[in-house]
Amino acid sequence: MDLSTLITPGTLFFFMLAAVTLVSALGVALAPNILYSAFSLLGTLGGVAGLYLLLGADFVGIVQVLVYVGGILVLILFAVLLTNKLGELKLNNLSTGLMVGAPAAVALLALIVKGVTTTAWPLTEEATAPTTARLGDSFLREHLLPFELVSLVLLMALVGAMVIARRAAKEEGRSVPEESHDRLVG
């Protein structure tokens, strides 16, 4: 068994991306500082985007980078910075639940692994090729209705987010600017 024939670039890439994904995911879970957590999330999301590309899902990969990394992650960073006084960014204590949470997570992981390895999946491997055109076709044909609905959901979410954030600001009334000033300086 010659290892060099087995290790193709694809294999190599997979393991590299998997390592990046998992290590930074662990970072999200365990980092003592919430800023580190947020930046680790970048690694995970990027790693998953790479895996999408490996699976021939080029469009999904790019959307992952654009939306997740470019949008959601920045949003999360905003939230982190807005809700913490700059001096105490370390405020990210693990709860005592780690002793219970870790076994629970491991138990569930074991169950899934058991399920995955014992099921005989009916495989039909297809060649890795760009699928963007087919994806676009299916969006405008068989998945047109869900597609439109999703855009509606997105719109509602945006409006909803604005309403929720603004109502809070209104309730606070005049004290908002002072508070936020305090927060930034303090």
Partner: protein
């Protein structure tokens, strides 16, 4: 050895299972609401990765990718709403520790 080195469906499924478990761990243990949200994102990513992998190895169509895109969009909507709520909670409680915001219990 060759079974491990030949990348197949199981590799992706196991990876996403691990990602899911880590996400669950994050959600279960973090007390900071924003960190909990990050855990949710991990879980969503694990699910989407599963969809794409199945779409590639089993289904042979782009159906799974469609779902992955929908999941990403849903995640964006969820993040926007959740962060708005987090901001609103922060203004009210002056904290986003999930344990401090348990006043509904009383």
């Amino acid at each position: 050895m060759s079974a491990i080195l030949t990348i197949g469906l199981n590799h992706y499924l196991l990876l996403s299972a691990a990602l899911f478990a880590i996400g669950l761990l994050t959600v279960a243990t973090r007390r900071n609401a924003v960190a909990v949200l990050m855990g949710v994102e991990l879980i969503l990513n694990a699910a989407a990765l599963n969809f794409v992998a199945f779409s590639h190895y089993v289904e042979g169509t782009v159906g799974g990718q469609v779902f992955a895109v929908f999941i990403i969009v849903m995640a964006a909507a969820e993040a926007a709403i959740a962060l708005a709520i987090v901001l609103s909670i922060f203004r009210h409680f002056k904290s986003i520790d999930a344990n401090d915001t348990s006043t509904l219990r009383e």
